[in-house]
Amino acid sequence: MNQAQIQIDRVSKVYHRDSIEIPVLRDITLTVNPGEYLALMGPSGSGKTTLLNLMAGIDKPTSGRILVGDQEVSSMGEGQLARWRADHVGFIFQLYNLIPVLTAFENVELPLLLTRLSRKERREHVETALSIVGLADRMEHYPRQLSGGQEQRVAIARAIVADPAILVADEPTGDLDAKSADEILELLKRLSGEFQKTIVMVTHDPKAAAVARRMVHLDKGVLSAAEPREMADVRGQRS
């Protein structure tokens, strides 16, 4: 599955704290087209990350269905879901989440350990992924030996190394300086355009959102498409 449509159908999510019910997402319906680059915006606590987690298959909705391609992710069991994530989803986090005791190469190799690839094939894949993010010369560096921007690029290499159809990114530029943030956004744009990845990105940053082809807005768990003017504004800010 190189490209997949994500269909979110009347999805709600309620968290339970003791006896209190906290509704986080309310009756969300959304379609993300194959190869689309979608920005999820909204204030803190609006449910952006929860929606991203549901699309990535690391959380389950309280009600409603999530389909990716022809597979209903929301009804999969733990093991099936783990295998599905390994095959179809790449993760990019705000704080990179690299494993500090592993080199850049080993961090990128992690998802490939779950495949049947030989050591040589894994090496080829990792080298390709690191070349795409421009870090082929930093393979043996540990995360502490890299800048924030470089760490995030290693994380992106890890996200794409198994060639998943979907990339989920949560505030990928949130911990970076402006220059590094621009580089990361450019890289994501390239992954969307050149490699046809479906990207769903949570961001607070209008500049980051402007890179996306579409933006949706969440507020108190309710979804609204961004106003065309808002989109125009953020694109204006970017240019």
Binding site: T49, L52, N53, A56, I58, D59, E78, G79, A82, R83, R85, A86, D87, F91, F93, Q94, L95, N97, I99, P100, V101, L102, E106, L110, P111, L113, L114, R119, R158, D170
Partner: protein, 386 residues
């Protein structure tokens, strides 16, 4: 194997903690290996030599403090299967002074029967003959020769302690092999000098045709003297040796209890290390779960870390146990438990057992942290960053 690097790097994530934990395992494994080797030595066969299973000892039924009539010898030797029976007396005298390092076994015996009973030790036939033909001569084990630098023809003087005569003996032979911390001299030396005990002996040391005969022969001897003035207790040589240790209480039970306590302690130590390590990596564990690692794989990874850590400690412990055991053996050779020193070694089976125990420590201590890690919620684990 492809996960090994991940496991290895996580084991040494905090080097100081890893090495301190390993250090505790090393100490425990040294102790376990030494204790198990000691238990083997206490109950083992090697100290008895290759013919140990064919030898038996007859002592007074009430204990070693009472003597047996020399007249028993002929009757014992007439039992079918008995090849030779030598009356022996533990002299227990003082050589040089009473310091423990000068302690060694001084036994009177029959020099004609001795080589038959002790056919599994090496002695030059000419030296044996010289000893047999000279009443005030003795033979000594190689270890004693090395300790005192004695040479053939040297004379030694041993002051009697509970047998109130002194020995003045000349060295005529050196034996090698089993329990080299004894000297043997003629019974006749005592018979002639020790008034009142000339018709008595401490024990009978005997050899039977084959190990299969030992039980029958010892039972026959016990029955033979059951209703006599001096009833006897006949037993295999191994059992005779063990009773000296039993005098100190149930040594084996004590040793096993110590081993169990230290094992339990080290399981708690390693479990604590693994729990800390897993707690610090909640986000990382959530990350690898998000990447597609299943619960079972996470459980396997954390458990493997505990096993690798424990196994490394176990291997190092076994390696350290070898020189430590050798050191103890040297010490034992100069003590009253010298006969057991020759059997006190780290056997291959003990090494295998130590490795199995290491894996057991790792598995037990890593189990709870591994289960907890595998149950980490991905969303909660990533909450801080996702």
């Amino acid at each position: 194997m492809k996960y090994f690097r991940l496991v290895w790097k996580n084991v040494f994530r905090k080097k100081t903690r890893a090495f301190l934990t390993m250090g505790s395992i090393v100490l425990v494994m040294v102790l376990i290996v030494v204790l198990v080797s000691l238990l083997n030595a206490l109950g083992g066969e090697a100290a008895l030599g290759s013919l140990g299973a064919s030898r038996a000892v007859v002592q007074h039924a009430t204990g070693l403090a009472n003597f047996l009539p020399l007249s028993y010898r002929q009757k014992i030797e007439q039992i079918p299967g008995v090849l030779a029976a030598a009356p022996e007396i533990w002299f227990g005298g003082t050589y040089i002074d009473q310091r423990p390092e000068h302690f060694f076994g001084q036994l009177s015996t029959d020099p004609e029967a001795w080589p038959i009973i002790n056919a599994d030790v090496e002695i030059d036939p000419a030296q044996l003959k010289a000893w047999q033909s000279e009443r005030d001569s003795f033979i000594a084990g190689q270890q004693l020769i090395d300790r005192y630098g004695w040479k053939l023809g040297d004379r030694i003087h041993i002051q009697g302690s509970y047998i109130l005569i002194d020995l003045d003996l000349v060295l005529r032979g050196i034996y090698k092999g089993r329990d080299e911390s004894n000297i043997f001299f003629h019974n006749k030396y005592l018979e002639n000098s020790w008034a009142g005990r000339s018709s008595q002996t401490g024990i009978y040391f005997l050899r039977v045709k084959s190990p299969d005969d030992v039980t029958r022969v010892t039972e026959a001897i016990n029955q033979m003297f059951e209703n006599s003035d001096a009833p006897v207790k006949a037993m295999p040589e191994k059992e005779f040796n063990l009773q000296f240790l039993e005098m100190m209480g149930n040594v084996k039970l004590l040793v096993r209890s110590i081993a169990l306590v230290v094992l339990f302690t080290v399981v708690l130590i390693v479990a604590n290390t693994m729990a800390m390590s897993a707690r610090e990596r909640v986000t990382e564990i959530a990350l690898i779960r998000a990447l597609g690692f299943r619960r079972g794989q996470v459980l396997g990874l954390v458990l493997s870390e505990a096993v690798v850590l424990s196994l490394l400690g176990g291997v190092a412990g076994v390696l350290f146990a070898y020189p430590f055991t050798a050191f103890l053996v040297e010490g034992m050779k100069h003590s009253p438990v010298a006969p057991f020193a020759y059997n006190f070694r780290v056997a291959p089976l003990t090494v295998l057992a130590a490795m199995a125990i290491s894996v057991g420590i790792g598995t037990l201590s890593g189990f709870v942290p591994a289960i907890r890690s595998s149950r980490i919620s991905i969303v909660n684990g990533l909450r801080q960053v996702v």
